[in-house]
Amino acid sequence: MHQVVSTPVRQSYLDAPYGVAAWLLTKDHKRIAVLYMISIAIMFSLGAVFAAGVRAELLTPKGDLLSADMYNKLFTMHGVVMVFFFLVPSIPATLGNFLIPIMCGTKDLAFPRINLLSWYLYIIGGLIVLATAVNGGLDTGWTFYTPYSSQSSPTNVTVAVFGVFVAGFSSILTGFNFIVTVHRMRAPGLTWFRLPLFVWAHYATSLVMILGTPVIAITVLLVGLERALHLGIFDPKVGGDPVLMQHLFWFYSHPAVYIMILPGMGVISELVAAVSRKQIFGYGFVAFSSLAIAVIGFLVWGHHLFLSSQSIYAGLVFSFISMLVAVPSAVKTFNWTATMYKGSVTWESPTYFVIGFMGLFTIGGLTGLFLATMGMDVALHDTYFVIAHFHYIMVGGAVMAFMGGLHFWWPKMFGKLYPEAWAKACAILIFIGFNLTFFPQFVLGYLGMPRRYYSYPDELQVWNVLSTAGATILGLGYILPMIYLTYSLFKGANAPANPWGAKGLEWTTASPPPTFNFEAPVVVDEPAYNYRPSGEVIVG
């Protein structure tokens, strides 16, 4: 790769200019990424506190710790905060925001001001939703199913859905910025097939963001209007169909799962290549599987409606396509595995996160097939099996990848090294805690325990106790990095430009990068992951 010679760094993006106003009005994608990182860390912590309340209540079969009302509000806020304010923006708005312009060899995203606007919309949406949480709470579940949300719920649904509506635009603007940047801003010589897979994955994610998010926006708007003005669109009494809301909702919310996991897959693709110091196995297949997931992911939403009075024939189509979407995920997993074959695999902390991700994501993906199998779904629909499955994908997969990426790029983002031993302990704790929390929920699900239950039959207690115990370990696993990463900011050793010996444009510039990312214009003349620049490389 054309080495941009690192002249001694005069000023990193963190240095100049200081001050609250300089940060809050910044147009620098790296600073916006940091703003996002702080905000989603707060949202994640809040979501985790809500989850802790839920798990604590479920320690015993009877409803004793909380009131049923409080319990319902807690799981609702856990879902809303974690999905719309943590998982959807997590990797794209932080790592993606920081890295995509650098990986494209450019100074910034195409629309820096819109990037900042996106963060402000996120904050406004978040504040609206949190205001609802304080002011009477919200008890609809994050799915806002009608007619419960539009007629029956005693809580402030109209305001809450408006918060989600606003946050949706923040997501749209992020995706929109990425798409234009990848199309229009790539450095000379940086062809599509020289792009890092992280960029491919984010491109695919952005497609889902811009094509799906507007539909959830109009859906929650309709729910809000229906509730405020009693328009009747989802009201069976005047001929409305509540199930239509589920169609519209899942048209976004199933692909939204890919908004959460695709960036994680992008992170893992980078990490696997870097920790193995090896060209990714089957670059083209990994790249196009991201696009395949994004596109096919739009055709499967009806598998959430098998038992909702949806036509069985539509169900057949949705089930069939859901099976197809499993294939590109399998292709990715096998390609990552094959990348490690004859690699030079480091035992540094990112490897721990990669291995953790591979295990959890594989379980999460395969258990999705249970739910896409129509007959099986009859037994599992709306049980804890569903909860376990999507936590394996979203937490086991996406959050593990996020943690891995955060550790991998931390020295680049802040120019500081974190304590390796603590990072490894964190990965191990999360892996153990996660499995202990969610594996029992698979069993609970087939035993029939419905989701969103405040009390449950006595014989299910043993699995619930295990799950709550695991959640404690998991919580510890998440608190740890908040401590040692913050510590590293102040006391960590200064990081060199390329601490991992990895390939990629981001490692050719200083740690932390200067305000305009590179000291000199970037020209790219080699493929990504070119660890053995011996000869021209056949992609595929």
């Binding site: 094509l211 048209f251 009806g302 024939y313 539509a314």
Partner: protein, 101 residues
Amino acid sequence: MSSAHVVVPVRLYVTIWLALVVGTAVTVLAAHQDFGRLNTPIALGIAVTKASLVVLFFMGVRSNTSLTKVVVIAGFFWLFILFGLGMSDYLSRPWLGVPGR
């Protein structure tokens, strides 16, 4: 260099405008006639034609990059995913003959 920014003669814009006015008149006149099952296809056909004129000429897609064309087509393609798969449920609900299945 892209050809997106050709300056189009005023005459072309006025022609398109005339076509749109005529299209509006035609669709209103067509609505006065009863073509049975063809009523909606005719109305939509005229609307699609009018919209295409606006997209191609007023919005300049005709002379824009192929990427813009792909973006426009993708937008409508996704719209039809929503309509098509959504209606696959509603239209096939009576087929099995079991309520709610």
